[in-house]
């Protein structure tokens, strides 16, 4: 350690125990808080999914009544999206972005602390509605009026919780943009940044653009419900479809908020384990930016059945189909990165490969859903449920898993148990397909989504899906154990951790000390994971 490091460490007294975590402004500790919180919410949301799959295990109502079932589907989505997936990515950004660009910390450390500590309270409020007399929200996570306005007074708590989550996300996004644009080490030009950093920079702009739109939409719901306005009330001159337009103007970019950082993680992992630099780096950056731009002009593909004018439907169909082009470029570039590499298959790489295959399957069903006449059949069926779980579970969640295994040794200083990691991978990958693949069939055969009971013709595939669901849920408990085991000890990790790893985060010791890059490193092409000069 240099003298400067020692000096800075002295400057910050280290509180112990609870106050260490309450008052921390260190990006690594806040990153850990985010990740632990995300894992906890993943288990809570997963428990709700288990209730759903248990009720759908066989036809007839056995366990829960329809209202509670609707509360479960609504809360499962809200908890998984805002509690599990988004905080996990912010946690990874907190840990990795400063280390990847050679910055000592995030640009706005106190705001960083605040943006995390809002979240536990937001979810305490959201989850507490389950115990209120009028129950948790039961109108689906999209909260479409007029149905959502039929809820009781607990609805106000839901909206307040959503506002808090939005504030947290916006602050996190501002912090990430400020960090990336201002705190890069000398030589870390924009086009030398790792793709994870690029993906997050673009995602952060999406967050700032759309979270206020969601806040506006739910505030209008609040005033319609409690203050007699008629934004969405047809009887008062409002329009319930307007809510859907506003909601999905937030909702579609939100989908990419949950997948662009995943693209970034996969683009870090595949070069490392292929021992080859990333193929087509510049194209990857532009493809990510194109996807982000397109995400703003495709929202109405979530609502083709509301009865849009022909011209509107055609525009949104064409715009949606175009997204396949930059997404395709990404998949082709990942495959080309592997091509003629020298691959090994540690757990992060296994999850990354599964991501490429299964996310692509979700992308294919996405292209099918873009075709408006066919969407009139697919819309609001289990085909859609299968589609978005392929892109969100085997997409976003698998990428988070891959990232967790990839960087765990850097965080803890110990290697995770590779044998258990592989068991977790195979168990998860097989069960997740047993869980979601049959749902394509169910949707095509005519099973609507969000129903607690179904006709007996759907019984077989629902049973298979539920068995897959229970197995997948159980597999994630193994993941919790692997993480705990890795934190407690194991084989010592080297600074580089992986034979093929490149980038600044692998130049600091494992575990990464509390303060890194107090003196900025000098960056050139020899340390980056890509080298994409046009030759």
């Amino acid at each position: 350690m240099t003298d400067t490091t020692a000096h800075i460490d002295d400057h910050h007294a280290q509180p112990k125990g609870l106050s260490r975590w309450l008052f921390t402004t260190n990006h690594k500790e806040i990153g850990t808080l985010y990740l632990v919180f995300s894992l906890a919410m993943f288990l809570v949301g997963g428990a709700m999914a288990m209730v759903i799959r248990a009720e759908l295990f066989q036809p007839g109502l056995q366990l829960v009544n329809p209202e509670f079932f609707n509360q479960m589907t609504t809360m499962h989505a809200l908890v998984m999206i805002f509690g599990a997936v988004m905080p996990a990515f912010v946690g990874l950004a907190n840990w990795m972005v400063p280390m990847m660009i050679g910055a000592p910390d995030m640009a706005l450390p106190r705001m960083n602390n605040w943006s995390f500590w809002i979240l536990p309270f937001a979810f305490l409020i959201l989850l507490s509605t389950l115990f209120m007399p009028s129950g948790a929200p039961a109108s689906g996570w999209t909260l479409y009026p007029p149905l959502s306005l039929q809820g009781g007074n607990s609805f106000a708590f839901v909206i307040f919780a959503i506002h808090l989550m939005g504030i947290s996300s916006i602050m996190g996004a501002i912090n990430i943009i400020a960090t990336i644009l201002n705190m890069r080490a000398p030589g870390m030009t924009l086009l030398r940044m790792p793709l994870f950093v690029w993906a997050w920079l673009i995602t952060a702009f999406l967050l700032i653009a759309v979270m206020p739109v969601l806040a506006g939409a739910v505030t209008m719901l609040l005033t319609d419900r409690f203050f007699d306005t008629s934004f969405f009330n047809a009887a008062g001159g409002g329009d319930p479809v307007m809510y859907q337009h506003i909601f999905w103007f937030f909702g579609h970019p939100e989908v990419y908020i949950m997948i662009l950082p995943a693209f970034g993680i996969i683009s870090e992992i595949i070069p490392t384990f292929s021992r080859k630099r990333l193929f087509g780096y510049t194209a990857m950056v532009y493809a990510t930016a194109s996807i982000a731009f397109l995400s703003f002009i495709v929202w109405a593909h979530h609502m083709f059945t509301v009865g849009m004018p022909l011209g509107g439907s055609l525009f949104f169909m064409y715009a949606t189909m175009i997204i396949a082009v930059p997404t395709g470029i990404k998949v082709f570039n990942w495959v080309s990165t592997m091509w003629r590499g020298s691959m090994t298959f540690e757990t992060p790489m296994l999850f990354a490969i599964a991501f490429v295959v299964l996310f692509t399957i979700g992308g294919f069903s996405g292209v099918m859903l873009a075709i408006v006449p066919a969407d009139f059949q697919y819309h609001d069926t289990y085909f859609v449920v299968a589609h978005f779980h392929y892109v969100l579970v085997t997409g976003a969640v698998f990428a988070i898993m891959a990232g967790a295994y990839y960087w765990l040794p850097k965080w803890t200083g110990y290697m995770y148990d590779e044998r258990l990691g592989k068991i977790h991978f195979w168990w998860s990958t097989i069960s997740v397909n047993v869980l979601f693949f049959p749902q394509h069939y169910l949707g095509l055969a005519g099973m609507p989504r969000r129903i607690p009971d179904y006709s007996v013709q759907f019984a077989e595939f629902n049973l298979i899906s539920s068995v897959g669901g229970f197995a997948f849920g159980l597999a994630q408990l193994l993941f919790v154990w692997i993480v705990i085991k890795c934190v407690r000890g194991g084989e010592k990790a080297t600074a580089k951790v992986w034979e093929g790893s490149r980038g600044l985060e692998w130049t600091v010791p494992s575990p990464a000390p509390l303060h890194t890059f107090d003196t900025p490193p000098q960056v050139d092409d020899s340390v980056t994971a890509h080298k994409d000069q046009l030759t």
Partner: protein
């Protein structure tokens, strides 16, 4: 040597993936081709896109697994140095664009066809309610409600002890089907009386949302007689899973016969004046039917309700209280809750019967007999009358 290996392994991988894909297609269900010209177009579109993405998938995954098999460290692979290929990148940008254009052309054609409701020979207005459908045949002047049938409804209760497998068409049968003629272009107008619903019969090839304050239109032309089943597809509250759609397509001649049967029944009812007094027996039996069809989904058949959202009617202060207050709640609903305004939905006769029934059943003993005239006195004037009133006041 190396390139030959890659080609052979690539072909083998493609073969394996093709077999797996074929297996996945073979074991599962597919979209029905349906019974209308439009539904068959949609089915074809679905299959075209499905085959295209399948072929792309086989090629991409075959390349990837070839690489995974051959280019691994344990086989002594040495990493190549290339990081870029402008030619390859332009190729895999342009080819997908061309493929998308190939998909977009038929999709556009089918969509334009779908949106063209001109030349319809008859019109049916479909209104969604929590949780039943109303069908109004505009030319033939027929109107009725269609709700989940009694057998399914009994079996679907928690702890009913009835196996869904023993109920015919469990959850996909209604008490009164929507009967339509075959080979007739029918325009369907969709709206809702409360929240958003979505009317869907897979064999007709589309679904459309029923939205309060909006009238959506779509059309169908059923070519084969038969019974076609579907469900509400948009989450509409607790019984969203229990509001099926059943369409029975019959020959035009049979349809005329059905219309005659319906309208003669209605005329008998119309003979009696709207505000004719009814006796206790009629009120109670008719009231129970109306209650079971329109009220029991929330307030339960025994009036026990479902706390906290759906209050019990047994011993309820409103039901056992002053009649005017009770009529007000039923006729105008309770805004901000699931209690709908039934004044627009049910006739004064039906409302009088239902109120009489609730005031004298489940242990409620008001002894009141509610007559249609009591209801009529408290219903809002029709919008047209209201306008006329406003006009005369302005003058």
């Amino acid at each position: 040597m190396k390139r030959t290996n890659e080609l052979i392994v690539g072909l083998a991988m493609a073969a394996v993936i093709t077999v797996i894909t074929w297996g996945l297609f073979a074991v599962g269900d597919n979209m029905p081709a349906g019974v209308t010209p439009y539904s068959r177009d949609v089915y074809q579109l679905h299959m075209i896109v499905l085959y295209i993405v399948t072929i792309i998938g086989i090629l991409v995954f075959a390349a990837m697994f070839t690489s995974i098999y051959l280019h691994r460290k344990s086989r002594g692979a040495v990493p190549a140095k290339f990081t870029h290929s402008t030619r390859a990148e332009i190729t895999w940008t342009l080819i997908p664009i061309l493929i998308l254009i190939v998909m977009a052309i038929p999709a556009t054609r089918v969509l334009i066809d779908m949106e063209d409701t001109s030349g319809a020979e008859m019109n049916i207005k479909v209104t969604g309610y929590q949780w039943l459908w109303q069908y109004e045949y505009l030319e033939d002047d027929i109107s009725f409600y269609s709700a989940l049938d009694r057998d399914s409804n009994a079996a679907r209760q928690i702890g009913s002890g009835i196996s869904p497998r023993e109920v015919d068409n469990y959850l996909l049968e209604v008490d009164k089907r929507m009967v339509v003629p075959t080979d007739t272009k029918i325009r369907i107008l969709l709206t809702s009386g409360d929240v958003i619903h979505s009317w869907w019969v897979p064999d007709l090839g589309w679904k459309r949302d029923a939205i309060p304050g909006t009238i959506n239109e779509a059309w169908t032309l059923i070519e084969e007689p038969g019974v076609y089943r579907g469900q509400c597809a948009e989450l509409c509250g607790k019984d969203h899973g229990f509001m099926p759609v059943v369409v029975e397509a019959v020959s035009p001649a049979d349809y005329r016969a059905w219309v005659a049967e319906q309208t003669s029944g209605q005329q008998v009812a119309a003979v009696e004046p709207v505000d004719a007094e009814m006796d206790r027996e009629t009120l109670m039996t008719h009231g129970e039917d109306i209650y079971d069809a329109h009220c029991a989904a929330c307030h339960r058949e025994d009036g026990s309700g479902m706390q906290p959202a759906f209050p019990a009617l047994a011993g309820n202060p409103v039901v056992n209280g002053e009649l005017a207050g009770h009529i007000d709640v039923v006729v105008n609903g309770r805004p901000g809750t699931a209690m709908a305004a039934f004044g627009q939905r049910l006739s004064a006769r039906d409302l009088a019967a239902a109120l009489t029934y609730t005031r004298n059943a489940f242990g409620n003993e008001t002894g009141d007999l509610v007559q249609p005239a009591d209801i009529a006195a408290q219903i809002d004037p029709e919008p047209a009358e209201r306008l006329a009133l406003a006009d005369s006041e302005a003058n």
